[in-house]
Symmetry: C2
Subunit: 195 residues, 2 copies
DNA sequence: AAGTACATTTGATTTAGGTCAACTCACTGT
DNA sequence: ACAGTGAGTTGACCTAAATCAAATGTACTT
């Protein structure tokens, strides 16, 4: 019923390996479709992140709330991305993050224990995990560098040129928080860049 | 001659698996000891990071230089850590980073191609790689959150409580740059916290 | 021991970006 | 059609941290 093809295609593309029919059946048996309405939480601060979700449709944000009540978005997620607080998911510790659906969200979700099985039994899945972890290391390092070295304006320009689709899918407030800016500051940056 | 025991112990401890004698011989055959003097570069911006190094002794910093000529430290590394720009190392692209020895530095180094062999042939090595990649994902996420949500003072306090040994080994200027602060600001923060 | 090169501290001033507040547009649901 | 809510804009003001500059401390070198 639910769209497992998206998941299969993704695994095969990222890993560069094919999934056997057995592999596919195993995945279908242990990834459960789940729908969340806009504003619904996939994960709440303080809970253990028991599930990892593959986004089939929709978008989400991962954020913290600081002592002043300000929200800070650490991750914006779209179709064909994994949704989880990996720290909590791997270590089974309570999460410091919230993950909230920004649009109606469809995921295929599974548990830590089950993922371990996939890693053991499905070569393409384990190859995919390695590639993702590499990509993730690289991306986070870039983002860290940007946060440290660049001005707000440069960070926004980088986003515009590297992730233009973000601007279509996420509100300006979300983008501002993702860039570590107040909404007002982003509004002003955009105003100036139109000259 | 050089201290391979440190490397063996590290792999076994992190992976939770034992290395066979064959494994050890393989590692000894393909990790080459290298010494760098203080201030010497392990990697220069624009070069491809051909080697990954395991630090046996000494310390290093990974940093970028922005258009104004300001340096930003992304990573401080000590004994039993891996030294590389993983983006450049994995993808064989020119690096945006510099890696410089802060003290006399002894590493055991190997190449990308060789690491691939280790991953295939040495189970403990591949288990270690997975654990490191997990830890790395978690640590970078924490650091990103800290950079976004916390004040300079809170970031320093976190460093003091989580990595007290950093303060012993790295100069205040290095710590400041690592925290994304000017040396003057860090000096003032320290002054205030002594009350 | 003297001299040069760094590190750190302190003070005065500047600035990027945040905060607070008011206003304008959409959209949504009734 | 109309209130209501959230998103974006604009202006006035504020603040954390950077910058500039000078003084002091420390630690290699020869």
């Amino acid at each position: 019923m639910s769209n497992f093809e998206a998941l299969f295609d993704y695994i095969q593309e990222i890993s560069g390996k094919l999934l056997s029919e057995d592999d596919k059946h195993l995945l279908m048996a242990h990834f459960k479709p789940r729908k969340l309405r806009k504003r619904q939480y996939f994960l709440q601060e303080g809970d253990v992140c028991k599930y990892i979700g593959f986004i089939v449709k929709g978008s989400a944000r991962t954020f913290t709330v600081d002592e002043k009540g300000h929200e800070h978005i650490l991750k914006l997620s779209l179709e064909n991305w994994w949704l989880a607080d990996f720290e909590s998911f791997y270590l089974l510790t309570p999460s410091r993050f919230n993950i909230e659906a920004l649009e109606e969200l469809e995921v295929l979700q599974s548990t830590n224990a089950q993922i371990e099985e996939f890693l053991k039994d499905i070569p393409a899945f384990s190859a995919m995990a390695n590639v993702i972890s590499q990509n993730n290391t690289i991306a986070t390092q870039k983002r860290m560098q940007a946060a440290m070295s660049y001005t707000a304006e440069k960070r926004y320009e980088d986003l515009v040129s590297n992730y233009p689709h973000f601007l279509k899918r996420f509100s300006q407030n979300m983008i501002a928080s993702y860039l570590g800016l107040s909404p007002e500051t982003l509004s002003r940056i955009r105003k100036n860049s139109f000259k």
